[in-house]
Symmetry: C2
Subunit: 124 residues, 2 copies
DNA sequence: CGGAATCCTATTCGATACTG
DNA sequence: CAGTATCGAATAGGATTCCG
């Protein structure tokens, strides 16, 4: 057993990096948008059709949040009709790297996880 | 610009590994609990005091979910008073690796993110 | 085309009280 | 000690309508 003194204490507040990262990308759509923009810059409605099921409202809102956190750049081209393009910032391109590790792990263990869930539910 | 044909389409449903992983650990407490258990197995009330701010209800519920997904094992020792210990499963120990990558990235860029947020808020 | 504004629902989460 | 049960507040997110 681990020595009691080695046990860390975790604070769930704004200064906690764990809390911060989960608060930023732990919502329903952020990661999907980040991954979509890995393929290169894209327009609002193109993103909307590529991210199946997202509402206009949530796409706008999530893009604003990602822009605010510094992961996405927004560029307005004052044409008629207006064109708006979104692209990853340097920070955006960086954060997707560890995210890819996570997703590739998840893809690799997808079946095992579904199995664990089924096993658990078949009990009790 | 990226070729249009290279652009992937993302589906936010149960078969999407991205969605799955975020649905599992994207809540308020899961990652903190997983990281707490990295230090070794621990008891319910010990976890409760180490994860500052978590309520009894959410600790129970999140532990049950993590157990269901196969990340945590729960062992009851029928002593008086009862002792219940939680520990990471093999899968639990594995998923924290990519999570650590993410958190360490977040810690490293913590200031940059706060700055981006401040910059964004000072505009408009 | 790319939003903003409004309304409404479902889910999440915390507080509190009780229990084997 | 380690929960369960119940309630209520806050938040997230979807649907719809309108706009420059």
């Amino acid at each position: 057993m681990a020595d009691k003194n080695e046990r860390r204490v975790f604070h769930n507040n704004e200064d906690c990096p764990i809390r911060n990262v989960i608060a930023q990308i732990g919502d329903k759509w952020s990661m999907l948008i980040l991954f979509a923009l890995v393929d290169g810059e894209d327009r609002f409605n193109s993103l909307k059709s590529r991210i199946v099921g997202i509402s206009q409202r949530m796409l706008t809102q999530t893009l604003r949040d990602l822009e605010r956190e510094g992961y996405v750049n927004r560029t307005v081209f004052p044409e008629v009709p207006v064109r708006v393009e979104y692209e990853l910032t340097e920070m955006g391109r960086e954060i997707v790297k560890p995210l890819y590790q996570l997703v590739s792990w998840a893809e690799h263990h997808h079946e095992k996880i579904k199995q664990a869930r089924a096993d658990y539910d078949s009990m009790a």
